[in-house]
Amino acid sequence: MTSPLARYRPLLAALMLGMGLLTATSACGSSSAATPVTTAVKEIAVTIAGHEVTPPPGRVEVTEGQKVRITVTSDVADVAHVHGYDKAANLRPNTPATIEFVADQSGLFEVETHESNLQLCQLMVR
């Protein structure tokens, strides 16, 4: 009986070659291991009026370890919430509310309101 591995040797060889190439190429693209020290606070201001978010929801780049300050002004009472970090602020009509925290965890996090279910932005922490 031939070993099942022998039958698929060409496939295995190709797979390994593929993986090797992949490792080589992606290693070049991700040399951001050293964490740059950023002291500037990332300011994000969002206004909600008539169920419309200004600026429209998009991605905000944040450096890991950077301080983030999100100011939300809503025309109705609501709760703003940063997913993952689980930071929240109560919103009163037309009164700016701020959420402040240090982005110490990498990943993609949504900022949204709970009552009106609007996404305000996505924090891209890396």
């Binding site: 496939l11 593929g18 992949l22 951001s32 429209p56 990498s106 990943g107 996090f109």
Partner: protein, 438 residues
Amino acid sequence: MLLAHGVGGRQDLPIPFSAALTGAILALLVSFVVLGALWTEPRLGGALGRTRPLSALIQGAVSAPAWLWIWRLLGLVIAAYLCVGLLFGPDRAENPTAGAFYVLFWVGLVPLSLLFGPVWRNLNPLRTLHLLACMALRRDPEQGLRRLPAGLGYWPAAAGIFAFVWLELVAPDRATLRVIGIWLAAYAVIMLAGAVVFGSRWFDRGDAFESYSILVGGLAPVVRRRDGLLAWRNSLDGMAGLERAPGLTVLVVVLLGSTMYDSFSNAPIWVRFIQESSVPAPVMGTAGLVAVIGLVLAAYLGTTSLAGRWGGTEPGTTAGELAHSIVPIAVGYVIAHYYTLLLLEGQHTLALLSDPLDTGANWLGTADWTISTAGNTPAGIAMLQVTVIVIGHVLGTVLAHDRALALFPRRTAVIGQIPLLVLMVVYTVVGLLLLFAA
């Protein structure tokens, strides 16, 4: 997946574009060159073609009558434990129910099935309940009121999987106990009613989660043979031996399409589109989910019918014959998409499970767990995501290639595969672009 309060707060960073593109191009090269040149005969037999039994010690354990009952009872106990939080726990982020259902169960079923085969058949608490009821009534569990119609095939499972992904990705308030409870109750009633009418064979292809476990379990390195022996086998043989039945194509496509929608629905462009539209978000979400699944299905049906025509085989058979080749692609995509969710949210949920009533209890001793990244870096995660997508794609291409060699006459075998290879590459590039951009 991003659920309201708690579950899945963190998501993966988009993959660097260079890595994604390289992965896609490599997948294309490997598929075309290696298979065309070196794999000229159909090699993948049925599920039990070449198997090697495991050691006698393991055979003794798995063939003992207690073996199946251990897993059946374990399934019941776990289900009962989860009902504590579902029925009596507070509806807060500290309740483990949503995490247990969407993360530990749904996502965790994939690695379990991938390693051990169709495990949900034995763990399924509904199947066990039906079995126990039949035993109490001294009835044959396989005997229902009617014969299971052959034409039903995987259609009930396809509908069940769609109902689940809709709940997971679109339904309003999907992390609340009320919504999860209603869904599960309706599901249990339909499954048990099906079992009463058609007998326990209904679960084989009627239960969405058993079917899911069967599909993924086709890739498992172990199989229980018809003679009862547990044996090592080639995963590709297992996948190629997947039984064909009506509805299989749609079931597989719903799995792939819904995971793609999950990535897509997170893209800022879609978020903006939904929020600025006057149509309610759940309606838009449903339309989006159906549209993505529909596109994946249309691409699949279009290319397989073209392959059938070019390859010179009976019209209308190619789609079903090749459906199994989509499974590894879907599995690769699911792993890429949900790996960190299972890792991080899984730990979080296990910690919460110690205290389902949120009274400060520590029933399982896991309450004080802190979530560890287990050495996973963002670059490592991105690497793993691209790798599993590429492996899934290559396995899918091999399976499709092997089946095409068996389906098509030798003269037209190569030309018949061109649409299939294009399809695989399109799926991969779209999958990578979604992970890259969304």
